[in-house]
Amino acid sequence: MSNPVDYIEYTRRTYEALGYPPYSWVENLDSPPFTPLSIPIEEASLALIASGGIYQRGQSAFHFKDDLSYRLINTEVSVDELRVTHFAYDVRDARSDPNIVFPIEGLRNLVSEKKLGGLTPQAVTFMGGIYSARKVREELAPALVQQLRDQRADIALLVPV
């Protein structure tokens, strides 16, 4: 298998080429909390969270400058209604098949096959590439966590881009 892309070195090089000072990385010193799954996966309600800039036709698209908004998308949505917009990755494949960045059909199939208990009523989407870690930590992340609580999610699957 190929080695992963070294995004840290890539970003350092890009910023240097643009004449910016060295990129200031977020450093999380605390270990992330860990909560073992306490119920069988076949009984768990999963929340799908995706950062690839997915919105549903009729919703507002994301903008490209530190957009802290998010969308709630009904998990019964038709894939034909899904749209993709993002400034930092090639979206052509995702627009051809939104399941690449928002695997809603695969998850619905697993629910039908009883390999997964269910999905929350709404999935949550936003657009990554937000430069302010503080705003993500203090504004967006708490709002997303509240959504998971409100929808009584047991587990969350984050699909990053």
């Binding site: 190929s2 890009t14 080429a17 992330p32 860990f34 799954l37 802290l68 400034f87 709002a143």
Partner: protein, 89 residues
Amino acid sequence: MQRKILMQALDAFVDIKTAGEIQRLPYRWSADESWRENPMNGGSQSKSKSSGDFRTPRSETPQYQEPEDEKAFLEQHTTGACGTCIGAE
């Protein structure tokens, strides 16, 4: 392949017992790996190595996939917020 990845993601909810554990899957996006030379290219598909920022310029205007999407947004919001575009209405 999408199904396999999802099944392995569900398995991870059960199998992972410690914080920070990463399970690497043996899949590759494409046999042509030239995209690795410029992985944050916003769509121009240039295969040259990065010498600057190739990403789409930033803007605070919603960037719709299709022009028709903006019309659909306006039609859906004629009476106010729809309640699903949180922070954008």
